[in-house]
């Protein structure tokens, strides 16, 4: 069941209408049933995989805690053994469904290079939707229990709901037990303000998906399916557009998920924090797919040694972590290279930062440039080229994320870099390039009509980007407020987590009604005018 489907628009209100009047004791079973139903709409059989993963991980948590509690010398290896087994089972399932064919082909390729050729075994299995997400969530839980960061959840129902909670089941955010499990122990009531905030955030999500992501997808998809037919400028524009598409798609999904959960009384972790305003690649990764980045940081980068073993080991750890992150996205070398490039950028940044620090740390110059750059005004001015550079680098790197094969990526990059500078300048070049991308629809410049301003794909997207920019600015830290309207104590308790980090929905929900109304009208109007209503899946479902 897609969020952007009529099915979901019926399903979700039904879930809510039944959920709130139910006694507390039945609320969680109801959500669990709904979550499994939600998942089974794709493939009923694969729900068994979730159930299996849930059960094994829960049993593992139970064994770990039990063994730790007994503190017997003959049981001291039990926790590690249980954890290892759980990781093996979960990753085994993931490997079987997602990576078997990839590794089988890669090994056959290696053998072929040394002269031994054979037909690799290919399973050709359908990838269960969201397997990478719920597997990592389950792994995170068992590691947390092992590390003692969170006690084992004794209630299997709570744990099952933690893994399968439908808003975040298929594409995250990858929730952490520390954040989500305590919320399952709280009582949940209908809250008008929270519902409004959730609905507004869902609207933002639908806007990002239907207008931004699907709008750009209609321009970008033809380019990436036949890149040989396009010029360097068009390929460059398409990669920039894809960068915007993927953000709209994934952050849109996250917004809908977080908004839906919020209506039901749960606070999911923030997954995006205006990533394209980042002034460096490392900052970008602190603001893009935050739930995965922090997962990678806590369960891979830090266990590898993090930055504790010297600068070069730190850089190696970064490369390894990002290569794994790339592989997590998809069983293709293009994803691995995409991940490694992101790791490489951060290594280079780290080296430059170290050099900068060494150069100016004790600068004898009368005005220390390092201190000068820390002045608030200059800091902002300096950020601007950093933001542009980071966006440019990210766009180029996303080419590997979007293409089907490495050869295609090489073809695109070759065309982009071999095009002379003159090919990127001049209004005529740009108009021709945009026209070739169907940016203006089928309307020629000589026949521009008022309707064109409202409905042409490109103009709609420019308008939508303006709306998105306003949304991002509203979400910006300088508008950050902890002030929430008056609530009863019990509601405040339930809502406490949100008060620390209000999301965009919370912020808008705190506005006066006319302003909230206007915001909702603008978002719905933009969806109505520029949204794409053809059925389309979310990009991250393939992972």
């Amino acid at each position: 069941m897609l969020f952007n489907s009529l099915q979901f628009l019926i399903f979700f209100p039904v879930v809510c209408l039944v959920y709130f009047p139910l006694p507390q004791v039945l609320k969680k079973p109801w959500l669990l049933v709904c979550s499994y139903y939600f998942y089974m709409c794709w493939n009923a059989g694969f729900a068994l995989l979730i159930a299996f993963s849930t059960l094994t991980t829960w049993l593992c948590g139970f064994v770990i805690e039990k063994a730790k509690a007994e503190q017997r010398s003959d049981c001291r290896y039990f926790p590690k053994l249980a954890l290892t087994m759980n990781i093996a089972v979960n990753l085994g399932i993931l490997f079987f469904f997602k990576y078997f064919d990839f590794f089988s082909q890669t090994i056959a390729g290696v053998f072929s290079a040394v002269g031994i050729t054979y037909a690799p075994v290919q399973l050709g299995l359908t990838l269960p939707v969201g397997i990478s997400f719920y597997t990592f969530q389950a792994l995170g839980y068992s590691i947390d229990v092992y590390r003692g960061e969170h006690p084992h959840e004794k209630n299997l129902l709570n744990y099952a709901l933690f893994v399968s909670f439908f808003p975040q089941l298929v594409a995250g955010p990858i929730e952490r037990s520390v954040n989500f499990l305590p919320q399952l122990k709280q009582r949940h009531y209908f809250d008008e303000r929270r519902t409004e905030a959730g609905v507004l955030l869902m609207l933002v999500g639908f806007f990002k998906k239907l207008v931004i992501a699907d709008g750009f997808a209609s321009l970008v998809d033809p380019v990436f399916s036949a890149p040989g037919n396009y010029s360097g400028l068009q390929l460059l524009l398409a990669s920039v557009m894809f960068t915007l598409q993927i953000y709209g798609d994934f952050s849109g999904y996250s917004d809908i998920a977080i908004g839906a959960a919020e209506i039901l009384g749960f606070s999911l972790m923030r997954n995006f924090d205006r990533p394209y305003f980042s002034a460096s690649v490392s900052e970008f990764w602190r603001r893009w797919h935050i739930s995965l980045s922090t997962w990678m940081r806590d369960y891979i980068y830090i266990p590898l040694g993090g930055n504790r073993r010297g600068p070069w080991r730190k850089r190696l750890n970064l490369l390894i972590t990002f290569a794994i992150s790339g592989l997590w996205h998809g069983a293709k070398w293009t994803f691995v290279i995409w991940g490694m490039l992101n790791g490489l950028y951060q290594c280079i940044e780290d080296m430059l930062r170290t050099a900068w620090r060494k150069l100016f740390h004790r600068s004898p110059a009368p005005v220390n440039p390092k201190r000068l750059c820390e002045l608030p005004f200059l800091r902002r001015v300096i950020r601007f080229p950093g933001i542009l550079l980071t966006f440019g680098l990210t766009s180029l790197t996303f080419i590997f994320f979007r293409v089907s094969t490495l050869q295609q990526a090489a073809q695109i990059l070759k065309t982009v870099f071999s095009t002379p500078a003159a090919g990127y300048t001049g209004l005529e070049n740009w108009m021709t390039a945009l026209s070739g991308l169907d940016f203006f629809g089928n309307i020629h410049a000589s026949h521009i009509q008022p309707g064109w301003l409202l409905t042409a794909t490109g103009v709609g997207l420019v308008g939508a980007l303006l709306v998105l920019t306003v949304l991002e600015l509203i979400d910006a830290p300088f508008r950050y407020t902890k002030v929430l309207p008056e609530q009863t104590d019990r509601e405040k308790q339930d809502y406490a987590i949100d008060t620390e980090h209000p999301n965009l929905g919370d912020r808008v929900a705190a506005w006066a009604f006319p302003a909230r109304w206007l915001m909702a009208i603008i978002l719905l109007g933009a969806i109505l005018l520029w949204g794409s209503f053809a059925p389309s899946g979310f990009y991250y479902f393939q992972f």
Partner: protein
């Protein structure tokens, strides 16, 4: 209470946009899903409000016009005329009809048009009291050439299946399409684009209050009949005869190779007449004469021998069903000559009374015994019983 308050707020946001969506979709209706084709609707509304229509170009779909005409018709007609452009000169005066008269003749109408137009009235429960069918011979010609690409095959099949009980496949019209279109956001976008697009080159029909004799263009009058342009009406006899000669010298596609009346098509037509009679409709069959020059060719060329067979079949049918038949394809039998034509195919409006006997219908002559298939007889018998 809080829930109601929230729902009200939700309605305050969604209702204005929903209203905008529905209003734009209904009013603009760029793809003519909800209200029918824009210009066709204008034509239908003009006719219903007793106005003539000019600039009636080929871009206007007469089949759509008829659908919309029937949909918006408030009361059943007293007299309805069906047929091709050769029937478009039949007026209330020439048939002696009284009351609400409409000529639903269509350019190049084929057998599907005749039956499906009748079905439109039948389905809407607006059957006329009198039905005049101008039977062109090609409606019994089983050839692709005798069909009009614009005719509604599905509606025709639905009529055969639903009313005449003949087994044929058709797709029932999906009424949900309209409902979906009304609330479709994608259709809203299409409509906005359509609304603001360039319509300057569209050939819009002109609504005329009067007949406007001086206007040099064809006009469709309020009764559906065609009022030819001054140049056609005032053409010299030489021009008319020359045109008839041209028609006779080229292989007129709708009739060329029509050597035999198709038994199955005849059976369908018989069942149709039988059905109409059983529904209490007074049927009159009209055989519109051809121009004498053209007829000379049709009557001797064996490639067109089906034309005379069709006339005979209609005479038999009229006798069998007890319906009136007037006219003849043969201009001599119909008492008309070269001067009575606009061109090789179309008779002058004022000349129709020559064979329609100025409103007094000519009784069908004694039937000539001709074998009618056993099936057809049984069919019409069954129809009569039902």
């Amino acid at each position: 209470m809080r829930l109601i308050k929230l729902l009200l707020k939700g309605l305050l946001v969604t209702v204005p946009l929903a209203l905008l969506l529905i209003t734009v979709n209904y009013r603009v209706d760029g793809s003519a899903v909800l209200r029918g084709d824009k210009f066709e609707l204008e034509v239908a509304q003009a006719w219903l409000s007793d106005k003539a229509v000019g600039n009636f170009t080929n871009a206007i779909n007469e089949r759509s016009v008829m659908r919309l005409y029937v949909e918006n018709l408030n009361q059943p007609l007293d007299t309805l005329v069906l047929g091709s452009s050769r029937a478009m000169q039949i007026t209330a005066a020439s048939t002696g009809a009284e009351g609400y008269f409409f000529n639903a003749g269509m350019t190049g109408a084929d057998r599907k048009d005749i039956l499906s137009t009748f079905y439109l009235f039948d389905r809407a429960d607006k059957l006329p009291e009198n039905l005049v069918i101008a039977v062109d011979p090609w409606i019994f010609f089983d050839s692709e050439e005798a069909l009009n690409f614009r005719s509604d095959d599905n509606l025709y099949r639905e009529f055969l299946s639903q009313r005449l009980g003949m087994e044929t496949e058709y797709t029932p019209e999906d009424q949900s399409v309209r409902r979906k279109a009304l609330t479709s956001p994608a259709y809203f976008q299409e409509n906005i684009q359509y609304f603001y697009s360039d319509h300057s080159e569209e050939e819009r029909p002109t609504i005329l209050a009067n007949r406007m004799d001086d206007l040099d263009e064809d006009i469709r009058l309020a009764d559906g009949t065609q009022w030819y342009s001054a140049s056609v009406r005032n053409a010299s006899q030489d021009q008319v005869d020359h045109n008839a000669l041209e028609v006779a010298n080229v292989d007129y596609a709708q009739l060329y190779g029509f050597t035999d009346v198709d038994e199955e098509l005849l059976r369908q037509f018989q069942a149709f007449i039988s059905y109409a009679v059983n529904r209490g409709v007074n049927v009159t069959l009209v055989l519109t004469p051809f121009h004498p020059i053209y007829w000379d060719m049709l009557s001797v060329n064996p490639d067109y021998s089906g034309v005379q067979q069709a006339e005979q079949a209609m005479r038999n049918l009229a006798a069998q069903q007890g319906v009136l038949l007037v006219g003849s394809y043969n201009p001599t039998d119909a008492n008309v000559s070269n001067e009575d034509f606009y061109d090789g195919l179309h008779i002058r409006r004022e000349s129709i009374c020559k064979y329609y006997d100025d409103g007094k219908k000519v009784e069908a002559p004694e039937p000539v015994q001709q074998e009618i298939t056993q099936d057809a007889e049984q069919d019409s018998e069954t129809e009569r019983q039902t």
